[in-house]
Amino acid sequence: MNKRIVALTINGVDVQRKVASRMLLTDFIRDELKLTGTNVGCEHGVCGACTILLNGESVRSCLMLAVQADGYEIETVESLQNDNGTLNTLQQSFKDCHGLQCGFCTPGFLMTVTSFLKENEDPTEEEIREAISGNLCRCTGYANIVKSVQRTVQSQRTSKSLTEPVCHTDHKQNETVQIS
């Protein structure tokens, strides 16, 4: 009873493993399946670094046992890239808008925002801030993350290629900011 077979689909691939019942889904993904894009921060549901999609909905993988995910479809940050291996629009926008610094929180943000934008294609800034309120970032101060999301929405709306002028992150302004 304290070992069980877990069979699930991850990023489109069917996998099956026999694991300890107490194994968290995060550890299953990282240690058993070697998909280390999903990060582990707090292991009690507060930071959001471990966010994945479970049947399309964002959930904390540290607050689930692997056995609870038996039979489900899971997507992790590794699923986001385009088929040709380039960054998808959301990832590219995070890059362009400096939506990350150390990057530890980024996989969680990307998965949260992926499911959010499926439900709300044209969010207001307030809605974006609410959507990411369950993800902590210790580096960016969130402003550039919000911009990254806005830029994604904008690119998806106009279907413009991402070689067009980048987001509103004002590098000049950043450079001239004086800290007294």
Partner: protein, 295 residues
């Protein structure tokens, strides 16, 4: 921070669950959405021998209109309450309060039964259930009991549930079309537990005199608290500024919060007074506008 070893069991029916609980008693723990229990297991604050995963049980996942109340199965997830047209139509205060429960990721997994069973005095759902005078249906092999929030919530994180019992259903009384409501809360950030919260359901007649008032607060006493004294005090009166000031004072006198890292007892006492005042004012304006239940 990993859970200690346990035996994982996934029963197929409520009956099987009750049998397991009856066999294992204190050694067993029910796992529903896991949004409160898994952190507790991760920190090894609880080390059950048997973990009984009821998360997939058929038959405890429904929202139904039944007579004068809305019956919500214990396994209904927060997100499903949030998007339920029936909840919006018949018990809108529940739909409003649920959005304060954690963040999207938590609400995608957390269940209503778990939120009630956890017995956290600052949780939103127990407060709303208390204000509405709802009921909790618990079952064991011996049969079912229907309990009021007062009978169910005993103190901080402690309920009257026995080890062989499971919550099957929560009953939320249907709100009158003529009533208006308000749910207000202050937390450090959205998604955090409330420092204080207030739920108000209000009805007035054509002269703007209060004819029905239901008020409960959370986060400031060991259990969600119905403010009966305040309810009685405002009946038959108009919601003037003076009355609302009296309400604030009375509220402060009816709570006994504790100090912690996030706020002192004095702060919480004052805060909850202001919140009740604010919620009553908002509800009062909503009834006046005829916004009633659909605001």
């Amino acid at each position: 921070m990993k859970p200690a070893v346990f035996n994982y069991i996934r029963p197929e029916s409520v009956e099987e669950t009750l049998q397991l609980l009856s066999d294992y008693g204190d050694d067993a723990k029910i796992l529903s959405g896991g949004q409160s229990l898994i952190p507790v297991l991760n920190m090894r604050l609880s080390t059950p021998k048997y973990l009984i995963d009821i998360g997939r049980l058929e038959g405890l996942n429904y929202i139904r209109e039944e007579g004068d109340h809305l019956s919500v199965g214990a396994l209904v997830k927060h997100k499903d309450i949030e998007s339920s047209p029936l909840v919006k139509e018949l018990c809108p205060i529940l739909g409003e309060a649920i959005r304060w429960v954690g963040t999207t990721q938590i609400r995608n997994r957390g269940t209503i039964g778990g939120s009630i069973a956890h017995g956290d005095p600052s949780a939103e759902l127990p407060c709303v259930l208390a204000a509405l005078r709802g009921e909790i249906v618990v079952a064991s092999l011996e049969g079912e009991d229907v309990l009021s929030p007062e009978e169910f919530f005993l103190t901080y994180m402690l309920t009257s549930m026995q080890p062989d019992q499971v919550i099957k259903e929560i009953r939320f009384p249907i709100m009158s079309k003529k009533s208006a409501f308000s749910f207000v809360e202050v937390a450090r950030t959205h998604g955090d537990f409330a420092l204080a919260e207030a739920a108000v359901i209000l009805e007035t007649d054509e002269t703007e005199t209060v004819i029905k008032a239901q008020i409960a607060v959370g986060g400031v006493n060991p259990t969600p608290t119905v403010l009966e004294e305040v309810e009685d005090h405002i009946m038959g009166k108009k919601l003037t500024d003076e009355l609302l000031t009296e309400v604030r004072r009375m509220t402060e006198g009816n709570v006994d919060p504790e100090s912690d890292l996030h706020g002192t007892a004095e702060y919480r006492r004052e805060l909850v007074g202001v919140l009740v005042q604010r919620a009553l004012k908002t509800a009062g304006e909503r009834v006046k506008k005829g916004a009633g239940r659909h605001e």
